[in-house]
């Protein structure tokens, strides 16, 4: 049973999830750069040091590979580390630990250990942070068997998915969106978990299916509004987790609308949109009236200048144009 409570920000929803899980399970601890005294670069861990103390809310040196590796070792003994990487950009420094250790140890050791660890990190562009601080790496992590990859778009999902992630026995890459931290919405209670592998249909329409991840869900909903003014009605599907991916919900929609556009904030080559499009082709080829459209960031490092940065990122207009182009091909 779902009990919706207060309307809070995406940021506060995450804080609540961690607070509740810290209270529930003494094996849960938080670790990351400036998450304690400073309360997090994005204030997601606000109040948690005061509440749970320095043994469970641990400020780290700037050593991403080191403390992600530490978390893996601790998780192998059954602890449940929730590691914050200040941003997704710094995960690249820890990639050896994530790919070679976290995602592999259970498999290569024949199931003798699990890694019940969550690595939280905000990503995405839009704040003029330049090329090194604006990555969207959903596709990198989704590529890797052994990881689970979560991309919440709403406060409700941010809380419910993070609680599921913390209770999961596998390593979970939890990709928050910098652009959504201030987004407000209803959230669930302490027992309202959002399961992995279950997409949400954010809007219903019969003409085209838009599949969008994380912040792109909101861009796509804005696009759907624009299109509705012209009488074009779209399904907007939010996969919520990209590994596992709820292909069933996606395929059911595409088989009904016969048109599909996939939107993600990462780059176009070997990207999330390409991958989801391939699944759509494989499962819905006979139902498609037009090629699957893709909307991605421009195939360039994300630039600094405000106008250039905006030009590099998917906009509601871009998505609406892609839907129109797809529909035009299909008639």
């Amino acid at each position: 049973m779902t009990t919706e409570v207060a309307t809070v920000t995406y940021r506060e929803a995450l804080t609540q999830a961690m607070r509740e899980e810290l209270e529930r399970d003494p094996d849960v601890f938080l670790m990351g750069e400036d998450i304690g005294l400073f309360e997090g670069s994005f204030k997601v861990t606000r109040g948690l040091l005061a509440e749970f103390g320095p043994d469970r809310v641990i400020d780290t040196p700037i050593s991403e590979a080191g403390f992600v590796g530490l978390g893996i070792g601790a998780a192998m003994t059954g602890l449940r580390p929730v590691i914050e990487l200040m941003t997704v950009n710094f995960s690249i420094v820890a990639m050896d630990q994530i790919i070679n250790n976290a995602s592999k140890v259970r498999y290569m050791f024949g199931g003798q250990v699990s890694v019940p660890m969550v690595i939280r990190m905000p990503g995405g562009a839009g704040h003029q942070l330049g090329a090194q601080h604006s990555h969207s790496l959903e596709a990198w992590f989704t590529h890797v068997p052994g990881l689970k990859v979560v991309c919440p778009s709403t406060p409700y999902d941010a809380k419910g998915l993070l609680k599921t992630a913390i209770r999961d026995d596998d390593p979970v890459i939890f990709l928050e969106s910098e652009g959504l931290y201030a987004k407000k919405g209803p959230i669930g209670g302490a027992d309202d978990l959002v399961p992995f592998g279950q997409a949400a249909v954010r809007r219903s329409g019969s003409h085209c299916t838009i599949i969008a991840v994380s912040r792109m869900v909101w861009i796509s909903l804005a696009a759907a509004d624009l299109l509705a003014a012209d009488g074009v009605e779209c399904d907007v599907i939010d996969p919520r987790t990209t590994r596992p991916l709820d292909l069933e919900t996606i395929a059911a929609s595409v088989r009904r609308t016969n048109h599909c556009v996939v939107v993600d904030e990462g780059w176009p080559e070997c990207g999330l949109a390409s991958n989801i499009a391939t699944h759509v082709y494989e499962s819905c080829f006979d139902w498609l009236d037009a090629p699957v459209g893709r909307v991605n960031a421009a195939d360039v490092p994300i630039p600094y200048a405000r106008n250039l940065e905006q030009a590099s990122l998917p906009s509601a207009t871009d998505v609406a144009d892609a839907v129109r182009a797809t529909l035009a091909r299909g008639t």
Binding site: V68, G69, N100, V105, R106, G110, D168, P244, L247
Partner: protein, 351 residues
């Protein structure tokens, strides 16, 4: 200035030392030697695939360190880790079967020579990326502290790993948070084919710890008693003081980096010099000289180990191949699909 590499005479057994422990050290060192000689043969016969890194020559460092710990103290290691598993008490049959890639292997054939792991014996695994396992050991030490348990984690790594940044990060965290970790650098003097002095600006690798105020020392890694004493002391310090320690054990591997290395670049006189200090031969001399074992007892150990290894090899050869149905086993604790291929992204139960 570099310290002299310790090459002194074999340490005499301390008075009152436990003859059973002495015999166990010899037995384990000999078992590892026997096991790895056989593994090399099986590799040449094509029964073992991939890489096979042998620690022949390094047995004193392996056994002296592992046996200095309590059986519950967790260990991580490198890809040269058959000996660590055997010293920890892993079944030689299961270790050999893992090398053969069989269902009965220690990791069900999913790991292989480089990725042995035996949780039951607190052996937290062999890892293939140089330096990559060190922070995991710090995590094992963290877990001991977090749970207020009584233990020590030992991170075993080679000289090559000392030039990986993650060691620096790991030492810093271990000292910063006062974690019971022994950083055990098994310096076999070569990172694959590159000698330490061609890779490290300062070849006194134990001094890396000084940057973090971690006590450290260099010992003769060919001397099992010296290693055992040093690691016992280090583990005691880590356990009681809740602080890390570093040990650098100088040793030498008698084979190339792996079976695919013909070992053409290391100087012959250097190899001969280190072969003259064979840890099994020198330890045997101490044991006999001090009357801790008889020749008959040594012979009994040798023949028992030979039988154990022959049995392990036969067991591995007779073991079933890993069924293809096991392909997707153990990817996840909670999988959502039974199909390892096409529909791996489909949620479980959705068709």
């Amino acid at each position: 200035m570099t310290n002299e590499i310790p090459t002194g005479p074999q340490t005499a057994a301390p008075s009152g030392s436990d003859p059973a422990l002495m015999r166990e050290m010899f037995r384990t060192m000999h078992l590892i030697r026997e096991f790895e000689e056989r593994a090399a043969e099986e590799y040449m016969r094509g029964n073992i695939g991939g890489f096979l890194h042998l620690a022949i020559g390094e047995e004193a460092a392996v056994v002296g360190s592992v046996l200095a710990l309590r059986p519950t103290d967790p260990i991580t290691s490198t890809y040269r880790e058959h000996g660590q598993a055997l010293a920890r008490g892993s079944d030689p049959r299961a270790v050999m079967a893992e090398l053969f890639g069989r269902q009965t292997g220690l990791c069900g054939g999913h790991g292989g020579s480089m990725h042995l792991m035996d949780r039951e014996h607190a052996f937290y695994g062999g890892y293939g990326i140089v330096g990559g396992s060190i922070p995991l050991a710090v995590g094992l030490g963290f877990s001991i502290t977090y749970r207020h348990a009584d233990g020590v984690a030992l991170a075993m790594f080679g000289d090559g790993a000392t030039n990986q940044g993650v060691l620096t990060e790991s030492m810093n965290m271990a000292k910063l948070w006062h974690l019971p970790v022994v950083f055990f650098c098994l310096n076999n003097q070569y990172g694959m084919g590159t000698a330490v002095d061609r890779a490290s600006a300062d070849t006194d690798l134990f001094t890396r710890a000084a940057a973090f105020d971690i006590p450290s020392r260099r010992i003769d890694g060919m001397d099992v008693l010296a290693v055992h004493q040093a690691v016992s002391d280090a583990a005691h310090h880590a356990r009681t003081e809740h602080d890390p320690v570093m040990i650098e054990a100088i040793a030498y591997r008698y084979r190339g980096h792996s079976m695919s290395d013909p070992d053409k670049t290391r100087p012959e006189d250097e190899k001969a010099r280190w072969r003259a200090r064979d840890p099994l031969v020198t330890f045997e001399r101490v044991l006999l000289g001090e009357g801790l074992v008889t020749g008959d007892e040594l012979e009994e150990i040798r023949s028992s180990n030979a039988a154990t290894v022959a049995d392990a090899a036969a067991f591995a050869a007779d073991s079933p191949m890993v069924p293809e149905s096991a392909l997707a086993d153990h990817v996840y604790a909670h999988p959502w699909t039974d199909d390892p291929r096409g529909s791996a992204l489909m949620p479980k139960g959705s068709k």
